[in-house]
């Protein structure tokens, strides 16, 4: 697989909407250009209202650009003819699992997407089983979604997207409403899907989650203001705090130790790395 190949290409994207009463035009995305390589894992962070979710909705043509272009695997999101190619390639998972599940039985819910693609029943059966296994919910396939935990429901929502065989999954704060166990479950599924070659775009407020991605993009006022590896981004902690965002705890601890003369390498940003470093210190 060619890792440098681009799956999502955004060129000079501007997105504006009108505020209802005042007829005032708000520019939610202000000239963003971005390329996402196939098979990568990117986290997008930023304050509420920074344009992250608007960007995500532009990626699978839920919203269309005011100006600029977006290509998903070569298909332009503006082209009505390619709408289903775009949506099948770029699946979306939203914050609230309760708003995304449509059926009263888990496996029916996962089958909903493929059924709409007019795929033969045998193939649907196969895809549903595979998707449920991929998110670790195969055993629960006959259950009613409302009897499941938040993390389980979110995994079903992800399975519904996986069953469409997308090349890219965009997750908009998928863990915001989950308890810690649910958050871990969903994070583990994202990593697994990434390892299987699916491109992951994760929008999150949790910096510890962003630190586990390959690339971190920070948005502010509709623009990309930082873009780099987690190590590069979280080394700029002062700027991150100025954007009213948090820095992951291990990064803060590392800074505190450095200020006290302990030369913690700047490449250390996750809890695991920091714990390993401290434990080997004598």
């Amino acid at each position: 697989m060619n890792l440098m190949e681009t799956i999502i290409r955004i060129e000079n994207l501007i997105f504006e909407y009108k505020r209802e009463e005042e007829l005032e035009v708000v520019r939610a995305i202000d000239n963003v250009s971005l390329e996402i390589p196939r098979g990568s894992f990117t986290a997008i962070i930023g304050r509420n209202g920074s344009g992250k979710s608007t960007l995500a909705k532009n990626l699978n043509a839920l919203l269309l650009p005011t100006s600029g272009e977006i290509w998903i695997d070569g298909y332009n999101t503006r082209d009505p003819e390619s709408l289903w190619q775009v949506r099948q390639r770029a699946g979306m998972v939203f914050q609230n699992p309760d708003n995304q599940l449509v059926s009263s039985i888990v496996e029916d819910d996962v089958a909903f997407g493929p059924e709409n693609l007019a795929i033969p029943p045998d193939e649907i059966r196969k895809r549903v089983d595979e998707s449920l296994k991929a998110v670790g919910m195969y055993e629960e396939r006959k259950k009613a979604p409302h009897l499941l935990s938040g993390g389980q429901k979110q995994r079903i929502a992800i399975a519904g997207v996986v069953a469409m065989k997308p090349q890219c999954i965009i997750l908009d704060e998928p863990t915001a409403m989950l308890d810690p166990r649910g958050r871990e479950e969903v994070m583990a599924i994202m990593k697994k899907l990434h390892q299987e070659g699916i491109t992951i775009l994760l929008i999150t407020h949790f910096m510890e989650e962003a630190a586990q991605a390959e690339r971190v993009i920070i948005m502010d006022q509709g623009r990309i203001c930082m873009d780099g590896t987690p190590e590069e981004i979280f080394a700029r902690s002062r700027e991150i705090r100025e954007l009213s965002l948090d820095v992951p705890l291990p990064v803060e601890l590392a800074e505190g130790l450095r200020e006290n003369g302990i030369p913690v390498p700047r490449s250390i940003i996750t809890t695991e790395e920091m714990v390993d470093y401290l434990c080997q210190l004598k």
Binding site: E21, R47, N48, L178, D179, S244, L249, I262, V275, K282
Partner: protein, 290 residues
Amino acid sequence: MSIEVKNITHIYSEGMPYESVALQDVSFSVADGEFVGIIGHTGSGKSTLVQHLNGLLKPKSGSIFIGDTDITGEKVLMRDIRRKIGLVFQYPEYQLFEETVHKDVAFGPNNLGLSEEETDHRVREAIGLVGLDYEELAERSPFELSGGQKRRVAIAGVIAMKPEVLILDEPTAGLDPRAHKEILDMIRSIHETEKNITFLISHNMNDIAALSDKVLVMEKGQIAMMGTPREVFSRGPELKEMGLALPPAAEFMNRMREKGCPAEASILTKEEALEALLLRLRVNREQVAQ
């Protein structure tokens, strides 16, 4: 005023195939002005418990005294209970519905049958308490506000009822770090001003540790632990067994212990963690120097 919960049990769908015990023999007491954090994973009984506290649910057995009144009693008027106990649900901003911020916050007090003057006074006070500018926002539509502001307006609507007990269910979920901190500061200042009993249900262990006098840990419909945040969060392995997290600093120290390096168990904040780490490194160096 204090709260005394005695031996309450609640069973969902009793006598049906899906019968399940949601609360089993739960007892605890809360002193006047106390701030109580409630943690537990989804389905542990947290929500069922707080729904009993404001009379939305009645226990199968047991009693709940709010001050001198047993709210499980037959003759108790639900209206009186709900006036005393304000419950802020998850994502309360979805419940905003009026044309203006003022009208939305005034909805509750109006229903209490207060005079127009008193209602107006309470609305202004409540909007101030949640940290918003009345003059600037009162006549605006709540739907034009930012997510954090909407949530404050929704909370103001409950505060304006002047509840003696305030229950907040996940008040910071889905907010960005700045809005999160603002809501947290707001909760602290409301508690300091009103001095009412406050219950905070949250998955955010940092928030629980920072605000609570006492933490209740719910597990399978029972209280599994009860104590100060420091007492509760020093029992990391047990909490993890229940699928619960620790405040990030406590989690960090716990991970170090799991790797077999000595680290203090009663750490709650990053400042404490840093201090403990520096101390340990210094001690190590001195030992090496000797």
